[in-house]
Symmetry: C2
Subunit: 328 residues, 2 copies
C-alpha cells in the first residue's frame, strides 16, 4: 500500500504531452497495490489511472499484459483499457520506470465479500475466461506447480518458526501435489488472472463491475483460477471474531462455483481436480508470503502479509476429497 516512485512536475508534463488527453486537472497517489505505483489522473477529457511498474514486474511481460487488457476491453469485458499516446503506443517510460495510462473503472472492492458478490464474481471470472479463449499471446505461470518446490527450498525452519510442525505438513502437501501431477492433467488451459483477490475485483452494490491488476496473468488451467478464487473469496474469520480461526464459508464457495458454471460449466476432469488445485493455490500463496515474510527487512514500506492465513486454508483443503467439499 504505497507509492514508490514520485513523479516531478516536469516529467508529468512531458509525459502527458505524448497523449491527446487534454490538460491535467488532478493527480493523486493511490494507497493501493503492493507491486506498482498508481496515481489517480484526471484530465479535461476524463479519469484515468497512471501506473508505474516497479521492479517485480518484468518489462518484457508488459506487452502481454497490455495486449490482454486490450483484448478483454474489445470483447466488452469490464477492465481498464490501456490508453495509447499520439504515436499509438500505450507503453512508455516515466521517471525511469515503464508506465501506462489506463482508463478508470467504476466500482468498489469489497473488504468482506457477500454471498451475492461471490456468485457475481464466479460469473465474472467465467465471462473473463470465455472472452480470453482466443487471446493469442502466451505467458508461462512463473508461480505454477513447478515453482513450488523451489520456493520451499531452505524455508522449512522459517515455517516451523511460524507454527511448530508446519514444515512437515508443507512437505507432505508438496509430495501429494507432485504425485497428483497437476501440469499433466487433461484440463482446459488458456489465459487466467491468477490473482483475482477481492481487492482486484470491483462491484457496484452486489453487481460485478470489473477486474483490475492483471500482472500475474498467464497461460494455465482455467480451473486453477477458480481454485485461487475459492481461497481468496470463500474463507473468513470465525463468527466468534477470533481471527486465528479461519472458516470455509460453504455458501460463499457454493455460490462462487455455481456462478462460474452458469456461464462456463466445468468439465469432469476440472471437477475432479478442484481439491488438488485449491490445495495447490493455497500452497502457492503460502509459499510466496513465506518468502516475503522472511526476506522483507523490518521497517520496510510495505508490511508483508501473514503466511499463516494460508496455512489455515491448507489445513482445510487437506481434508477435502471432491468438489462437493467446496459446495460444487
Amino acid at each position: 500500500m504505497a507509492v514508490y516512485t514520485q513523479v516531478s512536475d516536469e516529467a508529468l508534463a512531458a509525459f502527458l504531452d505524448q497523449y491527446a488527453l487534454g490538460r491535467p486537472l488532478a493527480f493523486k497517489g493511490i494507497a493501493e497495490g503492493v507491486e506498482n505505483s498508481n496515481y489517480y489522473l484526471e484530465t479535461s477529457t476524463g479519469r484515468f489511472i497512471l501506473t508505474l511498474f516497479e521492479k517485480r514486474v518484468k518489462a518484457e511481460d508488459l506487452p502481454y499484459f497490455i495486449g490482454l487488457k486490450d483484448h478483454l476491453a474489445a470483447k466488452g469485458f469490464p477492465c481498464p483499457r490501456p490508453v495509447p499516446g499520439k504515436d499509438g503506443q500505450a507503453l512508455r517510460h516515466l521517471e525511469g520506470r515503464p508506465a501506462v495510462i489506463i482508463t478508470f473503472l467504476d466500482g468498489l472492492s469489497p473488504r468482506r465479500p457477500t454471498t451475492a458478490q461471490c456468485r457475481a464474481l464466479g460469473e465474472g471470472l467465467a465471462r473473463m475466461h470465455v472472452a480470453l479463449t482466443d487471446f493469442p499471446l502466451r505467458r508461462e505461470n512463473s508461480l505454477g506447480p513447478d515453482s513450488w518446490p523451489r520456493l520451499w527450498d531452505g524455508r522449512a525452519a522459517s515455517a516451523d518458526a511460524l507454527q511448530t510442525g508446519l514444515a512437515g505438513e508443507i512437505a507432505s502437501d508438496l509430495d501429494d501435489i507432485a504425485a497428483a501431477g497437476i501440469p499433466s492433467l487433461a484440463l482446459p488451459r488458456a489465459t487466467i488472472h491468477a490473482d483475482l483477490f477481492p481487492d482486484n475485483a470491483f462491484f457496484l452494490g452486489d453487481a460485478f463491475s470489473g477486474v483490475i491488476d492483471f500482472y500475474f496473468a498467464c497461460t494455465d488451467a482455467l480451473a486453477y483460477d477458480l481454485a485461487v478464487c475459492l481461497n481468496a473469496w470463500a474463507f473468513e474469520d470465525s463468527p466468534s471474531g477470533n481471527s486465528d480461526v479461519l472458516q470455509y464459508n460453504f455458501s460463499k464457495g457454493a455460490n462462487l462455483i455455481a456462478g462460474y458454471e452458469s456461464v462456463r460449466p466445468l468439465e469432469a476432469a476440472e471437477r475432479d481436480a478442484l481439491p488438488v488445485l485449491a490445495r495447490g493455490a493455497a500452497l502457492r500463496f503460502f509459499l510466496t508470503r513465506l518468502v516475503d515474510w522472511t526476506d522483507t527487512p523490518a521497517g520496510a514500506l510495505v508490511k508483508p502479509k501473514n503466511p499463516l492465513e494460508y496455512a489455515g486454508r491448507l489445513a482445510f483443503h487437506r481434508k477435502v476429497t471432491s468438489i462437493a467439499g467446496y459446495g460444487g
Copy 2:
C-alpha cells in the same frame, strides 16, 4: 503518506446512508497527508474526499476547521467545502474516528513550484486572508512562539547529533526571537493557514486553483503566514544538484511577496517584522520535525522529515536584516 484507518463495506454503506449523495461508484485510499486518512470517493452525484481524523487532530477543533472552510467557500475562495448530511451536520463518525466528506477540488500540487506559481500563491494567500477577515471563530496557535521553548526543552543533544554545533545556534535563535517579542508586536492578526506548503496548494498550470488541509489554521499574525510560505516555497536545492546545499531563490521569494501585496499591501510593522517571523517560522518547522525525528520509532508507517532542511533555512534567515533580503 498513508491510510491509517481502513473502512469496512458495512461501515461505509451505513455512513453514506446519512447523506443524499447517491450511490458510491469508487472509493480509493489516497497516499497523501501525514496527519489523517483520506479517501477518494465518487458517487452518482459527484467527486468527494472522505477524511477520517487521526489522533493528532483534536476533536474539539473540528467545528472550527469545518466553519473555516464553509466561510471561505461562501466567499468564493477555492477550497474544499464540507458536505452536510441529511441532518445538516457535516461532522460525524466512521470507524471510531471523526469524519467529514468534503468536495473535490481540481488542481495539482507542484513538487517544485515555478516563479509564476509563487506569485500566484502569494495572491491566493492574500485573497484567503481578506476572505477570512470577518471569520468569527478563534483558535489559538498551539505551535506559536510561546510553544517553541517548550518544544526545544531537552532536545539539544538530538540537534547536536544531527549536526555538530547546531544546538548552540538554535539556542541563540530562541534568545533572539524571544527578545523580538513577536506576540506583542502590533501586527494585524486574524485567521491564518499556518501550513501552506506546496502539497497543500493546487494549481492548474501556473494558475492558482485552491488550498486544502486547514488543520493547522489558527488566529495569528497574517504576516506569519507569509513567512511560513517564504520558507516553504522560496527555498530550493542548489542548481549543482547537491541537495545538502539549500538556496533562497530570490526571484521566487520576491514574486511571492509581490503577489501577496498586489491584493493586500503589507503594513510597515509587518515589513519590519518579516525577518524575525521568517526565522521563527523556520524554527517552528525545525522543532516539530526534530521532535518527530527523535520520537518516531524505526519502521513506522510514515518516515519523519529531516529537520536539517530547516536548519539550512535558519542559517539563511540569521543574516537577513530587512524585507529587502527576501526581495520585498
